[in-house]
């Protein structure tokens, strides 16, 4: 199965030693082994089984302030030797950049805590098949469901990250995920919806019946959508998509966007960006967390950060390179956020739906209509009308638009946060967005 630490360490050391021999002044390397097994079903029959066994080496060499990288999947020493030579040759002729360097030694992760990220349980394919049969059986009980697809994936990973300053660390992680897509039909028109579960440990996986049922119910509810008139209206984001607001925030406060001057939140540090009831946290040390890590992609220790406190932007996401440009120390966010979430709001889901007479409730957005430079936002959407606190009818073929700067200031959170993904948000309301329809 998965290769052990010693095997990966040996490759990492080989890369560092050889690079130094050829003239590198600094070296960073990551060696990864992953094994993934996937089974998928369609309409209660086996559709595909897929086994992947892959290695990767990512090597960056520095000669003073010059830098170049190579990636390869072939771990044979004869191949690595050739690639290291190529990497050093490229490094020599790449122009210097004063901000190129390994991270400061005192910021490096010192100890590796067991965050409970690895479950060695192997779920054999015939078990996966049993699981998927149950998913699809529950998904297809209603005659309006005309197509179901379900999949189960098991991943095991091991890695070593090392650099020529003496840092060397790595650990195993695992992931189990299962999904179901259901297609419903009425009067010749079809709708599709899904449910998805992802966990570090097999025992924490949702029940197959639950996955199938949720996917089917969602697909049936969407049947017979209407297109509504264009208007300004309060828009409620379902939990499946409300986390997208946090992903936008993360892009806008990454040190690269700030340093390059290409963020709508440039110069907003210590300013009020959200209503003062809002707190946003990025915590890498959650046990079994899907985004948990001991250190970032450069080996820098990561600790919990309050990105937004009482509505005020408190921290950027900083790596070594852009940190130097901004005269700030890395806070262990090379590679982005870890477990990012909004702290819960105060309103219950029901109270949020009842806080006005009429809302648009969005369950899905489509397209990539967010502009991090200007903050302009416009995407396709589908969901439901909410009247007097009840979902009344499905809505589709509309767009929602606004500007993140104003949207952020008009957020109200419900208190139904769940830790289901690595980025999580409760149901949220944004007052007054433009909806374009008929």
């Amino acid at each position: 199965m998965i290769r052990d630490q010693e095997f990966l360490k040996d490759i990492a050391s080989y890369c560092i030693e050889n690079s130094k021999k050829l003239g590198a002044t600094d070296v960073g390397v990551k060696v990864i082994h992953s094994v993934s097994e996937n089974v998928s079903f369609r309409n209660k029959k086996l559709d595909e089984s897929n086994r992947a066994d892959s290695f990767a080496v990512n090597l960056t060499t520095y000669i003073e302030k010059k830098k170049s990288s190579i990636n390869s999947s072939d771990l044979s020493k004869s191949n690595l030797e050739k690639l290291i030579e190529r990497c050093i040759d490229a490094t020599k002729i790449t122009p210097s950049d004063e901000n190129n360097s390994l991270p400061d030694k005192d910021l490096m992760s010192k100890e590796i805590r067991d965050l409970n990220l690895y479950d060695e349980t192997h779920y054999p394919n015939d078990k996966k098949i049993e699981f998927l049969k149950k998913v699809e059986e529950t998904a297809s009980t209603d005659e309006k469901i005309v197509n179901t697809e379900a999949g189960f994936t098991e991943n095991k990973n091991n890695f070593i990250l090392a650099n020529s300053n003496g840092f060397l660390g790595g650990y195993k992680t695992s992931n189990f995920s299962s999904s179901c897509v259901a297609v419903s039909r009425i009067n010749g028109a079809m709708e599709r919806d899904y449910e998805f579960g992802s966990t570090r440990f097999l025992q924490d996986m949702m029940k197959p019946e639950e996955i199938g049922k949720i996917a089917a119910n969602k697909a049936i509810k969407k049947l017979g959508p209407k297109k509504i008139k264009s208007e300004k209206i309060g828009v409620i984001f379902d939990k499946r998509i409300s986390k997208g607001i946090l992903s936008t925030l993360a892009s806008a406060i990454s040190a690269s966007a700030i340093a390059r001057g290409t963020s709508f939140l440039k110069d907003q540090i210590n300013s009020e960006v959200f209503p003062n009831s809002i707190n946003i946290i990025d915590d890498p040390k959650i046990e079994k967390g899907l985004g948990s890590q001991n250190f970032d992609s450069e080996g820098v220790e990561t600790n919990s950060l309050k990105l937004v406190e009482n509505g005020i932007l408190k921290n950027y996401l900083i790596d070594t390179y852009y940190g130097k440009k901004l005269n700030l120390k890395s806070n262990g966010r090379s590679g982005g956020t870890t477990n990012l979430y909004f702290e819960n709001g105060t309103l219950s889901f029901k109270d949020l739906l009842n806080s006005e007479k009429k809302f648009l409730y969005i369950t899905e957005t489509i397209g990539h209509g967010g502009n991090i430079i200007t903050g302009d936002y416009s995407v396709g959407a589908s969901g439901f009308m909410v009247e007097d606190g009840e979902l009344t009818y499905p809505v589709s073929e509309i767009t929602i638009a606004g500007n993140f700067k104003e949207m952020f200031k008009n957020i109200t959170l419900a208190n139904d946060l769940e830790m289901k993904y690595s980025t999580n948000a409760p149901t949220l309301l944004i007052n007054q967005m433009t909806v374009a329809g008929k």
Binding site: A52, T399, A436, K438
Partner: protein, 470 residues
């Protein structure tokens, strides 16, 4: 040509024997070998931000029986690894039996040369050109706030070994050169992006100072956007410019005509074969045979020679795009549309260069016929929900049309429509068909593959524009 078995403990005839033995009871399958080299050199914020070289090699072993696909891939090309994969495949398909063996047609055509674009331009000259781009743009105007430029080049060798010992090979060059510029004026910032590429060497696209045209175009788009006003919201007439806006065709129609979604009956088009799905005068093809285009392939990733597939002819739905699996199950032939991102991925029916052919109207006639609407010249990305047929794409350059005249530029807005009905709303087809500049990547099931699009200007009677101005 790569010799995949050099420096391994196995030779071609031994590999062929394993393939034949493994697939003897299957309907189809193959051993797919791939060697992929790529480079990326990025200039950003006045510096060479990164230079990366990737080298990847491996195999994907596939066995197909009935509707079931078993797949095993690894980057270790060795006797033991292939045996393990073989056991894994046989294990999955243990109770199955198959007979299909549709022969792969032969081809002598080649749609690109076997060159390695990474090696045929020196590293130094690439760095020099990136610096020239940066200097050129920054000296153009004090409003230039940020410049990013990059080279992406690759060379992929593939070899397909089938159970009848047939061996098929292809060598594919691919390059892309991209420029992005951010302008700042009166506290307002906007971006312009432009790129070129295809299956030739970098210099074919950049020689004689033509790299300056790429810079000028990115600069022009950013400048237009600096003057942009909020976009309107609601249903209105839309004129699309020629070329890259054909990603509308790709999203709205193309994905829905891929064989797998129609075999599975999850496409909004699955029961529309032979029916009128577009206005008369609308003809759409998917062509893998255009010379040196980004979406072209001499053979697809199952070894089938590509072709020019007519999807919609004068408004009538004629063909789906097929790989071998879906063609077999639907009782037809592969259209040479079986593609995969790499040896790590299973084959799916995919688009190549998707094109709407020219009609007879001029763009001026279209614009002057519109009282109130928008004129969309360029787009970012798009996306489609295959099942409901709803699709979107984002304008990156667009203008208002008032009383038959082009007005102010408008901010980036998403346009949304319904795939099966949108082409019935096409009222005029232009006489100015143009290919895109060679920049498209299509994503499906987590796999990205290079594609092309083309179209003339078209007038759409009614689409929803997702602006903020009511």
């Amino acid at each position: 040509m790569s010799n995949f078995f050099k420096e391994t403990d196995i030779d071609t005839s031994q590999a062929e024997a394993i393939v034949t033995e493994t697939l003897k009871n299957c309907d189809d399958g193959e051993l797919y070998l791939e060697n992929h080299k790529s480079e990326s050199i990025v200039l950003d914020d006045n510096k060479i931000k990164s230079s990366t070289y990737n080298s990847d090699q491996g195999y994907g072993f596939r066995a197909v029986t009935g509707e079931v696909v078993a797949y095993s891939h690894s980057n270790d090309i060795s006797k033991e690894s292939l045996r393990k994969s073989s056991e894994n495949l046989k294990d999955t398909l243990k109770s199955k039996k198959g007979t299909y063996n549709h022969e792969i047609p032969k081809t002598n055509s080649k749609y690109y040369e076997n060159i390695n674009p990474i090696e045929n331009k020196t590293f130094d000259s690439k760095i020099d050109l990136l610096n020239s781009v940066n200097n050129y743009l920054r000296s153009k105007s004090p409003t230039v706030n940020q410049v990013t430029a990059n080279f992406l080049g690759e060379h992929k060798s593939i070899e397909i070994i089938r159970s009848d010992n047939q061996v098929l090979k292809d060598d594919r060059p691919l390059v892309r050169f991209n420029v992005s510029v951010v302008l700042e004026k009166d506290g307002k910032k906007e971006t312009g992006v432009y790129g070129v590429g295809g299956r030739q060497s970098y210099d074919d696209y950049l020689k004689d100072g033509s790299w300056k045209d790429v810079c000028d175009e990115a600069f022009r788009i950013a400048n237009v956007n600096l003057e942009s006003k909020p976009a309107p919201a609601g249903e209105m007439k839309v004129v699309l410019g020629p070329g890259w806006p054909a990603i509308l065709i790709h999203e709205a129609i193309g994905h829905g005509l891929e064989g797998d979604f129609n075999r599975k009956k999850t496409s909004a088009f699955h029961n529309l074969m032979g029916q009128q799905v577009a206005s008369e005068g609308v003809t759409i093809v998917d062509d893998g045979t255009l010379h040196q285009r980004r979406g072209s392939l001499t053979i697809d990733d199952e070894g089938t020679p590509t072709e020019n597939t007519v999807l919609i002819e004068n408004g009538i739905l004629k063909n789906y795009m097929q790989d071998r699996l879906n063609a077999r199950l639907m009782g037809t032939k592969s259209t040479g549309s079986g593609r995969r991102e790499s040896y790590k991925h299973v084959v799916l029916p995919r688009m190549r260069n998707t094109m709407m052919l020219s009609g007879k109207y001029s763009q001026d006639e279209m614009i002057s016929s519109v009282d109130k609407g928008i004129f969309a010249v360029s787009f970012g990305g798009g996306q489609v929900d295959i099942t409901s047929g709803k699709f979107v794409f984002n304008c990156t350059e667009a203008y208002e049309i008032n009383n038959g005249k082009i007005g102010s530029p408008i901010k980036g807005a998403t346009l949304i429509g319904d795939g099966p009905s949108i082409l019935k709303e096409v009222s005029l087809v232009g006489n100015d068909m143009k290919l895109d500049p060679g920049i498209g990547t299509c994503g499906k099931a987590g796999q990205g593959v290079p594609v092309g699009v083309a179209q003339p200007s078209i007038l759409i009677n009614k689409m929803t524009v997702g602006g903020t101005k009511l």
